[in-house]
């Protein structure tokens, strides 16, 4: 099999060669059979001829008997006329003998010539007998018949019998020969058939296994590769298409190995980078968390001292100082909001923001928002209205964060409206609460509606300058809403105001908070 596999011929060529070999053997067997049949046919012909000769010999014997008969009749009737019948029989005898001679074997020719000579002699005697009868010497004729013709005929009879025996022997030989040839042919055919079958099976076995073995090896090899063993190689003795396939597979395995190594290296590098990034991110959020208190401590002093000055704890302040002091206070508070937003966001990003779940009242959420922002609304001459469905039961979630969200939205609404009103409403929709904050402000361009909840997104920088703000409020609001499992969206028309909606579950599952 290995030897067949190693032959540098294509699969196609090997299969064709195999079939051709078997076909040639079949043709060979056919040729032998034809030869045998032709030999048997020739022997059968010889047998026919021998048969013919026996038949002819019998005719001769018959003619001989008739000659004897007619001679006897002539003697009985004392008339030579029946002798003519003897001549007629003689012609038949000669014709038959000539036919026999033509088909005779060389060794028989001599015997036939002796028969002819004897017959010639017999005819002379018949002529003598006829003459004697015509002369009325019947006694002499009878004597002649008895002394000469009869023994001569006996001799001829003997010759013919010899010929018949010889032919019979020959026929027996021929028959034996035909039977032997028949047996030989049968045995030969049987042996050839078995040999042919064995050759065909052997060829089929060898050729098919020379194909199956590389396929089996390829199967094993591919299983190894599939298991991730890229060091596996496939070795086949084939130098045909299977050999080429195996070479390709080895090449593929090498390539896979190389790619896998590259991938591993890249993955390790990524992992390292990721770890570094995580460490950096953690360091950042730790830093920001620690900064929280550090930032608040000086803010406490700044805002505290300004408030005490404005409360005239240090005595009456000159009127021209009041406005700058209020400005310091306003900006200090704004700075504080910025700090709070940045810290919230950093906590959310670091995944360290946890909701503090408890029962809370939606009415309280709205009321706290209203009282906190009422002064800003009054300052800007805006109408701030709130409406909460009476039937809403106690909610469960992080009430403070929900309040923060609502304050962000209402704060924005007030910030971006120059006149008109800001309306807050809360409705229960099945298991959810729907918060709605609509304003009559500047509105949001359609293209910006998607981006508005992103980090540091404000519609444009000019507006940022005019209205100030951290740009983080909506992003934080969105994240808190989503931490509750809720959804936030906005509908807006440029120039005629915006409406922000968000939903949160009325009662959060405890599982969701973890």
């Amino acid at each position: 099999m290995r030897w067949v596999a190693a032959i540098k011929v294509s699969v196609h060529g090997k299969l064709l060669a195999g079939y051709l070999l078997v076909t040639l053997l079949v043709i060979g067997m056919g040729a032998i059979s034809l030869q045998t049949i032709s030999k048997m046919s020739s022997q059968s012909h010889q047998l026919d001829e021998a048969h013919e000769r026996v038949h002819a010999s019998q005719e001769i014997q018959h003619a001989l008997a008739m000659q004897m008969n007619f001679t006897a009749m002539a003697l009985l009737l004392r008339s030579e006329t029946t002798v003519e019948n003897i001549l007629r029989e003689n012609n038949r005898f000669n014709n038959t003998l000539a036919r026999l001679e033509k088909a005779a074997q060389p060794e028989e020719v001599e015997l036939i010539q002796r028969i002819r000579a004897a017959q010639g002699e017999a005819l002379t005697i018949v002529a003598d007998i006829a003459n004697l009868i015509r002369d009325g010497k019947v006694e002499n004729a009878m004597q002649l018949q008895h002394d000469k013709q009869y023994p001569l005929y006996l001799r001829i009879e003997d010759f013919v019998t010899q010929l018949v025996v010889r032919e019979r022997n020959k026929m027996d030989q021929l028959r034996a020969s035909v039977a032997a040839a028949n047996r030989t042919t049968l045995v030969l055919m049987a042996i050839s058939a078995v040999a042919l079958m064995l050759v065909a099976l052997l060829l089929g076995f060898i050729i098919s296994w020379s194909f199956i073995l590389p396929v089996q090896k390829a199967h094993g090899f591919l299983s190894e590769v599939a298991k991730g063993n890229f060091a596996a190689t496939i070795q086949v003795p084939n130098r045909d298409e299977f050999g080429a396939l195996a070479a390709h597979m080895n090449h593929m395995s090498q390539e896979l190995h190389r790619l896998y190594d590259d991938q591993c290296r890249a993955s390790q590098e990524l992992e390292k980078l990721n770890t570094q990034l995580q460490q950096a991110s953690e360091a950042k959020s730790n830093f920001l968390a620690n900064m929280s208190h550090e930032l608040r401590t000086p803010m406490n002093a700044i805002l505290g001292f300004v408030e005490m000055m404005l409360d005239e704890i240090y005595g009456e302040i000159p009127p021209q100082l009041r406005e700058p002091l209020v400005d310091v206070q306003t900006n200090g508070k704004h700075l504080l909001r910025l700090i709070n937003d940045v810290l919230d966001l950093s906590k959310i990003e670091a995944g360290r923001m946890e909701l503090v779940l408890a029962e809370y009242s939606v009415h309280d959420v709205v009321e706290i928002t209203r009282t906190s922002l009422q002064s800003l609304a009054l300052e800007k001459g805006l109408d701030l209205t709130t409406e909460v469905d009476d039937g809403i039961p106690l909610a469960f979630g992080d009430g403070k964060r929900i309040t923060q969200c609502l304050m962000n939205l209402v704060g924005n609404a007030l910030k971006f409206s120059k006149h008109g009103s800001v309306a807050v409403s809360v409705k229960q929709q099945g298991k959810d609460l729907l918060y709605r904050v609509s304003d009559t402000g500047i509105g949001i361009p359609r293209a910006e509606l998607e981006n508005i909840f992103g980090e540091f997104q404000q519609v444009d920088t000019a507006i940022t300058r005019e209205f100030s703000g951290t740009g983080l409020g909506l992003n934080i609001t969105k994240k808190f809403v989503e931490m509750h499992g809720g959804r936030i969206w906005v509908e807006s028309e440029l120039g005629s105001g915006s409406t922000f909606f968000f939903t949160v579950p009325l009662r959060m599952d405890h599982v969701e908070a973890t």
Partner: protein, 124 residues
């Protein structure tokens, strides 16, 4: 100087100065401590009528100091206002858990702080 004593535990001198000035015009007497350990020691020694405790302090935190004072029978009954970092961060809950009587988020309004002190400890 028979006024009621308030202990402010805070490491920032400006905040100390601010509260000092805030209480200067009241009848309260202010004593100060600049870290958690000193805070606990001062409270045990002076037995103030009210304690303002910053949450983040050197040595031991304001929460730990509060817990220690609550655990000690000599100071267990003294009202403690814990000054937390940020009301929304869960510090208020931690303060309550540690035994704070009340909490106030930093930055606080001096006006509101004084109102809270007066509520817990009437001036007269």
């Amino acid at each position: 100087m028979n006024g009621k004593t308030v202990l402010y535990v805070e490491d920032n001198e400006f905040n100390l100065k601010m509260v000092r000035q805030l209480l200067a015009r009241t009848a309260y007497r202010l004593i100060e401590a600049t870290d958690g350990e000193l805070g606990v020691a001062t409270a045990l020694r002076e037995r103030p009528d009210l304690i303002l405790m910053d949450i983040q302090l050197p040595k031991i935190s304001g929460l730990d100091a509060t817990r220690q004072l609550r655990a000690d029978p000599r100071t267990a009954a003294i009202p403690i206002i814990v000054i937390t970092s940020f009301a929304l961060s869960g510090d208020d809950q931690k303060a309550k858990d540690a035994g704070a009587t009340a909490y106030m988020a930093k930055p606080y309004s001096p006006r509101e702080l004084l109102q809270m002190i007066r509520k817990l400890l009437p001036e007269q």
